[in-house]
Subunit: 353 residues, 2 copies
């Protein structure tokens, strides 16, 4: 049969994944047939995974980090909620986790999986977590508090230090979801990382802005004790315990994450952030000049108020575009998104009138 | 820095993964930068995933199968337990799942994640599930019953039709874990698949005997309703709901699964099964001639009673070898395991005396 072609990235504006860096792709191809889920058998990739975690620690300013390379942000977020629940298992019967309303839908998944109540607090007027609204939902059964550093819909960074204090007061785990933002935020003035606040665990995904291949997410923990709450015995493996959500895992993802970070941290990521942020700012200005409402892009993600029929017309013109919950079109300025592409979007908008 | 080399497979006797088929590798490399977790954006790989599920349905004799390509057997097993729990959520408060004692440790993970009690029934004298022992553990809170078709330690196939009846009588979901065995069992006389018994869900992994790249596991369900119990809303994706455990997923795994199955089903898998089973039988005979106790290999997996010091000496000689819970050495005759390799193992054993 005719083989379908993989997606061309040129017109993908909706994805938080991107064309992997050539070094990441080459490393992935070399390690396609390895399994970091069985480190006793596959030692080389197990060494690489330790290196990946160390590099993620540099990026998020955590010395001596615990963690592992996950299948993606969802696994990392699920595991963080699982740590939160398990560490309070003996003293909380009906655990809840308090999240800002823009928390990713993986937290909904986590809540279903883990039988944890998810309490969603309304955002402030600038689409950020409202610490008072979060505090109002915290009670003695709160085992976790979540902050988002680079929200999926508007690229917003929550008040991480204030949320960390809130979590500490409740003896709740404080988790930061920087799945997408983590490779841009080191070059901004935002407070978001392990050195800025008492963050316990963090999601930060090499396969998004880190330019690794899928699957390469990241879960970091300030202390290995936190991961130990996840361990199950592995009777027949050469190693003796496993904290990951999945079993067999992708060595390609791990190897590519290391290759990308070695190649790009910090200078490559900085210049990509600078390029993408300028492009987002320029695109915002161009859209506003044309009279469109645009949510101010704190990170390289532009949400613009277009009519449903305009969004449909752009999709028919081949643009891959998704919508926020409120209906704005979302343009994620990933490494594959060029000025030429965004100029074409503007031309198409002008043509559509 | 010096880049570590990926694992050479020549001396890996412990893994249920293998060198991917060249067609699978090529497909994986083409689809490294796609995400079936976002099918609205990445349409080509979403089409491939439907094809993968259809092919898995042929192999397991289920027409019109529901399912998806998971990150591996663990995700598929966790999701099956989650379906079992969720479909009885309204009438069972403290759900339990009854498994034979040789059930993979992913069921332990599932139990922790999902707050489900795991009840392990002792095996019969031939390392298979004992239906009476399983029945004794079933009660009104039993939401799931699990059978294993190709156990991790001894390659055993449980009495699937009898376990299916047991599950049906209890209104429990019946799940078969054929993660490893699924690509060998179609060429045996075992009763294990959707046509042999009232199986509701099944784990069957292309990235094990299917010769796809990691990550490519498989979850199949007799009816799409079962998967619907897993759905969460996905506000910002172009598609509108998600039943998978992970979010972003590997297009490489999906594409390679299709490529491997198109290349190898059925003739290629049959000839590999014939080769591996003969080799396992030959190796068993050679070991027995030397006076070693060997568990009769029902599938291409040999468990041999070696002393701990002999196992250590073989490991020092470079063999990747793991142990069963009872301490036997486990040799999984995967496609990369050759007669030459097993002859060398025998020579090393002879040399060690």
């Amino acid at each position: 049969m005719q083989r379908p072609e993989p997606q061309e990235f040129a017109r993908v504006l909706s994805s938080m994944c991107t064309e992997p860096h050539p070094a990441a792709r080459a490393a992935a191809e070399r390690f396609l047939a390895t399994n970091p889920g069985d480190p006793g058998t596959y030692e080389a990739v197990a060494d690489l995974e330790r290196e990946a975690v160390a590099l993620l620690g540099e990026i998020t300013r955590l010395s001596d980090p615990a963690g592992y390379v996950t299948s993606g942000g969802t696994e990392a977020n699920v595991q963080a909620v699982r740590i939160a629940r398990n560490r309070r298992r003996d003293d909380v019967d009906r655990p809840n986790v308090v999240v800002p309303d823009h928390a990713h839908f993986s937290f909904t998944k986590a809540a279903d999986l883990l039988s944890v109540d998810l309490r969603r607090a309304p955002l402030d007027d600038d689409y950020r977590a409202d610490t008072d609204a979060m505090a109002a939902l915290v009670d003695e059964d709160t085992v976790g508090v979540v902050g988002v550093a680079g929200s999926t819909e508007y690229g917003r960074v929550d008040p991480i230090p204030a949320l960390a204090d809130l979590a500490a007061d409740a003896d709740a785990l404080f988790h930061v979801d920087a799945a997408w933002g983590g490779f841009a935020l080191p070059f901004t003035d935002h407070e978001w990382d392990f050195a800025d606040a008492a963050v316990d665990t963090m999601t930060v995904d090499p396969h998004k802005l880190g330019q690794a291949v899928v699957p390469a997410g990241g879960l970091l923990a300030r202390s290995p004790d936190l991961l130990d709450t996840l361990a199950v015995d592995t009777p027949y493996l050469e190693s003796t315990g496993q904290v990951t959500l999945t079993g067999t895992r992708s060595g390609a993802g791990v190897a590519s994450a290391v290759a990308a970070m070695e190649e790009l941290w910090p200078d490559g990521y900085r210049s990509e952030y600078d390029r993408a942020q300028s492009l987002a700012d320029w695109f915002t200005a161009e859209l506003r000049e044309r009279g469109y409402d645009v949510v101010d892009p704190h990170l390289p993600l532009v949400a613009v108020d277009l009519s449903p029929s305009t969004i449909d017309a752009l999709r028919e013109a081949g643009w891959r575009l998704s919508k926020t919950g409120s209906g704005e079109a979302r343009v994620v300025v990933m490494p594959h998104v060029t000025r030429d592409a965004l100029s074409s979007v503007l031309s198409d908008l002008d043509r559509l009138g």
